[in-house]
């Protein structure tokens, strides 16, 4: 009896050790990413001496904040086997709506809440399209994106809406110890959503429905319910991103962040979130985000035109997809 108990303990310990080595292997993916980041930073530092500086690092983080928030929603959705192409349009629409609300004298907190509710409602709309009407998430959310973009232009008549309410502007433009609030939002939300994804039952459910929705369903996890929550999260976070951006720019513009869903998805995929569903992490997404922002910031600093930057971004996404493909082949071997 004693003997078998002892053996059991040894076995548990041995398995614990193996677990660690398996974890190290997973971390290797992030190590690769960090190396990519270092290479990117090194190249641009040589090309432009102002690149490697504290203030530019802050610029990069500041510029990442909107795309980063959108990328949180994308990471969750892609891991769960879905996608939301409407996130950037939700953000733009929210910014315009917030500006209009503020213009009508609605207090800043109410204006913020209204946009968050709008984001949640659009999330539910996306969930209805994909879950009840069984439309492909890719096309369904593309349609939503177009609708949100249109509504954005309609409610402002195509003109950008200036914001003068100082307490509203403060939620996007305040600095704490020299760090802009949007950067703080970014870091806090990444930590919170990273924790939820890795440590909670809900986070695990996301991985399970992304890995095998039928198996998840038969294990008591309802993919429809989980994906609805995912779309609502994506909607709310996107709306928050758009609203805080409007505050920081003192303007609500219908075209504010259109196209950013592209960067958000690139960040997630580059960070190891796989389109096959079921794998990836928020931490990886964060590194992916920093890589693409460092990259585009660097291109701007060496005076590459924005047209060529578009080309470069497309190439970066292809690179990220190839890397994902390579990883998967290596891992299933």
């Amino acid at each position: 009896m004693m003997d078998s108990t002892y053996k059991f303990i040894i076995q548990v310990k041995a398995m614990g050790k193996k677990r660690k080595s398996a974890l190290n292997l997973l971390k290797l993916n992030n190590v690769t990413l960090i190396i990519v980041l270092i290479v990117v930073v090194a190249i641009f530092s040589v090309l432009n001496h102002n690149y490697f500086s504290r203030s530019n690092a802050m610029n990069i983080l500041y510029a990442s904040s909107v795309v980063g928030l959108l990328a949180i929603g994308q990471t969750y959705l892609i891991i769960g086997g879905y996608i939301d192409l409407s996130c950037a349009s939700i953000a733009s629409l929210s910014g315009v709506l917030a500006a209009i609300c503020i213009g009508k004298g609605i207090p800043w907190l109410s204006a913020l809440l209204i946009t968050l509710i709008l984001g949640a409602a659009i999330g539910i709309f996306n969930s209805i399209l994909t879950n009840i009407f069984s439309l492909q998430p890719f096309i369904a959310t593309l349609a939503t994106a177009s609708m949100c973009e249109g509504f954005g232009y309609i409610i402002c008549g195509g003109r950008s809406v200036p914001i003068s309410n100082q307490s509203f502007i403060a939620i996007g433009a305040t600095k704490i110890f020299g760090i802009p609030l949007p950067v703080i939002y970014l870091v806090i939300l990444f930590i919170i959503f990273g924790f939820i994804l890795e440590k909670t039952v809900f986070g695990r459910s996301v991985y399970i429905i992304g890995g095998n929705p039928t198996a998840g369903y038969l294990s008591g996890i309802n993919p429809k319910k989980v994906s609805t929550i995912l779309y609502v999260i994506s909607g709310i976070v996107s709306a928050f991103a758009g609203t805080t951006l409007a505050a920081r720019m003192h303007t609500g513009a219908a075209s504010a962040v259109l196209g950013s869903e592209f960067n958000a998805i690139t960040a997630a995929v580059l960070g190891g979130v796989s389109f096959t569903g079921g794998s990836g992490s928020i931490g990886g997404c964060f590194i992916g985000l920093i890589i693409i922002q460092s990259f585009s910031n660097g291109l701007t600093m060496i005076n590459v035109s924005s047209f060529w930057q578009k080309v470069a971004q497309g190439m970066l996404l292809i690179g990220a997809l190839l890397l994902d493909d390579f990883r998967r082949k290596k891992l299933t071997k």
Binding site: F8, M15, L23, T214, G216, Y217, L218, G220, N222, G278
Partner: protein, 210 residues
């Protein structure tokens, strides 16, 4: 026989399919089942026929596959207790003699028999009163098959109700106490172990009684 409606029947019992009529009793008490989640809560476990399509999350570890149906048992306030989860997985791997060096190994890398043991482990972890096994020995090696027979018999002896679905007659005759034969979506016969032989079962499953 394949196509007689066995899987549909157990899916309905498990709440994964619409129930046309009838009532579900667990230990003599009627229960209302609205979906797999409430079936699990009411003490029913279903080990589906197609383990790769319906059972396993192939790209995930043994640990994550075992805990999938009992996440509430290895968590507190919605936060997963990794230690508990590891312990559950290690215990299950040991109990079922799953051949692996680590519980972090991806399930896709295991053999068919070991994959089946992982799913069985998942369902036993949910501590069911009724365990439904849909073709549990399909496509697995002889050694694993006999381990599964032994396990099923032990579970039944310890008071668990086991519904064992199989198209292999010998298997059914040797393992089961009572045999329900289905044909074209309805039950065509009920035999107890003593009165059962291949001929009787086949005649109930195939011959059209006018």
């Amino acid at each position: 026989m394949v196509g007689a409606g066995r899987t549909e029947t157990v899916f309905s019992i498990f709440g994964a399919d619409h129930l046309d009529s009838g009532e579900i009793l667990v230990q003599g008490k009627p229960v209302s089942i609205r979906g797999p989640k409430s079936a699990i809560r009411n003490g029913i476990g279903l080990c589906p026929e197609d383990r790769k399509e319906q059972g396993l999350i192939l790209q995930k570890s043994i640990r994550e596959n075992i805990s999938a149906a009992v996440l509430n048992k290895v968590s507190k306030n919605q936060i997963i207790n990794k230690k508990k989860e590891v312990k559950l997985a290690v215990n299950t791997v040991k109990q079922f003699n799953v051949k692996t060096h680590s519980i972090e190994k991806k399930v896709v890398e295991l053999s068919g028999g070991n994959q089946q043991k992982v799913i069985l482990g998942r369902w036993l972890a949910s501590d069911p009163k009724i365990l439904i096994l849909d073709e549990p020995t399909k496509g697995i090696d002889v050694g694993a098959k006999s381990e599964i027979y032994t396990m099923v018999c032990n579970l039944a002896r310890n008071g668990m109700g086991v519904i064992f679905i199989s198209s292999e007659l010998i298997e059914v005759i040797n393992v089961c106490d009572n045999i329900i034969i289905m044909k074209e979506g309805s039950i065509s016969g009920l035999l107890s172990r003593g009165e059962c032989n291949e001929e009787k079962v086949l005649s109930l499953a195939m011959v059209n009684k006018q």
